[in-house]
Symmetry: C3
Subunit: 212 residues, 3 copies
């Protein structure tokens, strides 16, 4: 119940960041709705496809698709306001990230999968929406070289799965994961925590066979 409300907040926020990216590329309304929906529910869709978890979430609950399309189109009116209030969106996006990670873990746990796959399921749910948005909008996936994001998803999943494993009550586990994951994400943004970057500087032309 709590999770559903937070999930709706999460997909709405994600849909808006998707619509903003589409607006920067001058897409039409269809493009805005497509990118908004892919950003918001694309992570869960990729997870369901990878795990063979059918029917995919929005096929079962089309109302989530309606929410993301409306959020996308609304953003075309309030775009500049959204862009100005980005701090508020970082806040909502962080909630979405943790909620997506919890849901992703839960889906894989319910399927009885290996704990490592449950963590992967959480990360895919949390991160792939943003990756799809950046693929559609042809921008370098930001999640791959900015402050901690996938790592927060990993942390949340490990925390959630670990607490459940040690018999902690599900509601307490959920709240603890949200509070800790959210705090970690906000701290990462505030202090600019990043993963180490791998920068391979090869000036001469790469041999073609390595590139393949």
């Amino acid at each position: 119940m709590l999770l559903t409300i937070l999930y709706i907040i999460g997909i709405t926020a994600e849909a808006m960041t998707g619509a903003l990216a589409a607006g920067k590329k001058k897409m039409d309304w269809f493009g805005v709705m497509l990118v908004a929906s892919a950003t918001a529910i694309g992570g869960g869709t990729v997870r369901d496809i990878l795990l063979g978890h059918y029917p995919v979430g929005w096929v079962k609950n089309p109302q989530f698709l309606v929410i993301t399309c409306i959020a996308g189109v609304l953003t075309t009116w309030i775009g500049p306001w959204v862009a100005k209030n980005h701090r508020f969106f970082v806040f909502l996006d962080a909630i979405g990230l943790i909620v997506f990670s919890i849901i992703g873990s839960q889906v894989a746990l319910d399927m009885g999968l290996h704990p490592l796959i449950c963590v992967v399921s959480a990360i895919v749910t949390g991160v792939f929406g943003g990756l799809l948005r950046d693929l559609f909008c042809r921008q370098m996936p930001m999640v791959l070289h900015k402050e901690l994001y996938a790592s927060i998803s990993l942390l949340s999943a490990v925390l959630y799965i670990g607490l459940l494993h040690f018999g902690v009550d599900e509601l307490i586990t959920t709240i603890a994961t949200i509070v800790i994951g959210f705090s970690a994400r906000m701290a990462a943004v505030k202090f600019g925590w990043c993963l180490p970057v791998f920068h391979l500087d090869i000036t001469e032309d790469q041999p073609e066979s390595v590139k393949k």
Copy 2:
């Protein structure tokens, strides 16, 4: 039967537009066949994967894959001719769009899915082939900011599903959808009908957290 013939015309035309895009990127024959096939049958493939509708179309009917590969390679010879006669291809492509939309609706209807998902199924079938082509060829997806295309797919699906819902005969429904959808698409091309474009002009560097 009629639908099968029109479907073959549609995938042939789509495969050719895919091959042309590959040729502009100087791909080899394998690339041409890959992009041609992805353009022609990628939409139906994405639909089947999203809906969990296995086996995927071309796995069940490999001959369609043969057609798209041949159409792709043929286009390497007649490429300049095709590029010159683009009006003819707009014509064939419009037929393909409507037929793909009808088939997409029908697949989802047969699975007993929500009408909204049937419409989404139609749009995915009609539009994602072109999106895949543009992803492979690294060009901005044209479907996202050109004259009405996905909207025609939407219109055709609503018409088809609606007529069937009100008990109209399937053959009449199919023909009516093709005639009206096709006319709407040709009118959109002729008069340059477009969806409103969302143009978010942010000159200052976007805050990194909104981009994520």
Copy 3:
């Protein structure tokens, strides 16, 4: 058994080429692990999804995912060494290509699919990892305009399926396919064998409707 050892060599080599590509784009560790894993096991994943062959390989055997992540991160230390010894990697990559093609054929054969689909399954397994890497790193898919690669996968698949079809022992078939496929790939690299390239040179702006 032999196939498993060669498979592990193959995914390790592929993961390293993925990590190198990520390093050239200055991705962080998460990006490196993502691109390394997508390159190494993305082909098999796409194959499993297209064929509806669940559970996907690494969901069933998470240890392969661990290998590709470790190989990716290790490459961040030994990157310049890897880039210098690219000949060695062409060697490992060629083994991977043939082994992936054999596994891809075998999966489709086990599902009782049409021989043509078995060949497609082999090519998807062998080639799509590299395609995913290039999509994530936003570089033109190299497999689409470099020396024979997908064609070697095709050759290996036809050889493997053909020998099995004519009743040749499975071990002998596997070894013969590896030896011949590997030799063909190394010859293609050495002599620069390429497929014909389709180069469509259209100077005037393409009519928008063909681009769609």
